[in-house]
Symmetry: C2
Subunit: 337 residues, 2 copies
Amino acid sequence: MTVNRQIRLKSRPVGAPTAANFDVVEATMPAAGDGGVLRRTIYLSLDPYMRGRMNDAKSYAPPVAVGDVMCGHTISQVVESRHPAFRPGDFVAGYDGWQQYAVSDGRELRKLDPQAAPISTGIGVLGMPGMTAYVGLIDIAKPKAGETVVVSAASGAVGSAVGQLARVRGCRAVGIAGSADKCRYVTDELGFDACVDYKSGDLVASLRGACPSGIDIYFENVGGTVFGAVLRHLNRGARIPLCGLVSEYNATTVERGASLLPLLVARATLQGFIVSDHTDRFGAALQEMAPLVRDGRLKYREDITEGLDAAPDAFIGLLAGRNFGKALVRISPDPTR
Amino acid sequence: MTVNRQIRLKSRPVGAPTAANFDVVEATMPAAGDGGVLRRTIYLSLDPYMRGRMNDAKSYAPPVAVGDVMCGHTISQVVESRHPAFRPGDFVAGYDGWQQYAVSDGRELRKLDPQAAPISTGIGVLGMPGMTAYVGLIDIAKPKAGETVVVSAASGAVGSAVGQLARVRGCRAVGIAGSADKCRYVTDELGFDACVDYKSGDLVASLRGACPSGIDIYFENVGGTVFGAVLRHLNRGARIPLCGLVSEYNATTVERGASLLPLLVARATLQGFIVSDHTDRFGAALQEMAPLVRDGRLKYREDITEGLDAAPDAFIGLLAGRNFGKALVRISPDPTR
């Protein structure tokens, strides 16, 4: 193999991205070089934050430049290494983006033990999405047993971990998801106490039914009308870790927003956070979460798309809520499965 | 005098209140009774929160019932007392509402020393509005020297104290107010570093000019489009004490709201608070603020309307931003002036 297939940002989307915003390019295979680690991508993680990187706007991370390879967390296998810590065949989690091969000095790589957990969890429940759930729920919202925790995008990578961690902490976990199938999965498979389909019926009334004691914590992944409905049920002293606003990422105009008056009345705290600010907490998070994954108390579901070329469509679907579980692209075969 | 003139809530307003929502009633003069304290109202404080009490909606305090005297903080003089702590002639701060006389067991009254500060400050800069400024800025936002503090309704009772306290803490104080006159007062009289007229020109651009290092703290009194403009300039780790949303209190429909995405990008914290939860801090606040008032480092301006019957119009004007300074109604002569 002498070619490194890549997907690059061709143009910045206005509104929802389309296939035309992406370019499939056959680049030259990179070489390991001095001290370098060459690896083959197995899984690419698709995450809503990537939509923000496609804009040329000030954000918490610089945008992807037009013509650059799209960014993204990856699970890879080392092909060639001139770095003492990595050997060919090692599995690593990294940030190689939408391409078949990548090389670097290895500083950012995290070695994975395929015996401890499936390697794909390194970009899922035991990777960035899982860390996001932990930091937002445990460190920012500080749940107490008996409280009601609501999470949107509940069948997704972050949301499913939030609700299950809330249950472990003795809380009532209530999901919000976008179909009856997803809601069934959230309650029957993940063990949430309730789940509400935001696309069906009156969300304010459904939430009232699902949260008879009100809402103490709302883990916000979506924004928009869901946010407004949740505000109607806040208990005094409610905490709202603000993790994502996927319903707004493609918006070209601002929709009618919710009044913040309920935050005042409830003396609520809403706090934006970015998981990469909290790397000092990842050790503690993994120590608690890895055993829960092994025990089956922290379940996850993967929505795997096959082949790099299908990544743009899968990403467009993710932003529209068409994925069901953690969105992954399998770029090359996973030798551990 | 055998009559106690009162203004009662006649009907609940839909949108902005009108004179028709209020009733002027001549009630019987109350008697001191056993252990009671009868006093004559001198000043009534008009505050935006009263609009919320006119609604029949769940809030942090029960609504005023239709037919009841409108609520409000007051400065009064004791007429008759059967309580050992109060003597005729004493000045007290209380919560007697929109009426000429009131009686109670005195539990809620705070005696004022007219030598220490003008008695009207007991419902102004050294009363609820001043305490609100202190708790929101000092306790919730925790300003550090060199930070930029923006406050809306900057010429009002709360806003003017916020900016001056911010200056005392070594911060850059930037006001937002509703006219060129108010802005001149905020900078020239109160000593804010800058003030922006939200009714004139492009607020986003004006704020950029007034806050060259961005915004670290935004003390929120108004909501609506002002909030959205401020969000464009938040620095990382910004704090937003949410004190009031006066632009929304009369709203019958929710206007286009701001996206919360800037709160996420800036890792900002927005926290609703109600000053009455923080009475334990009033001692510390008064200890710091009373000397500042005496020294002239904490200035205030009063917008006094004469006579109880004019209170509804003055209140309607307050909600529309027509007051200039702390809105008071003089219900009977102030013997200390």
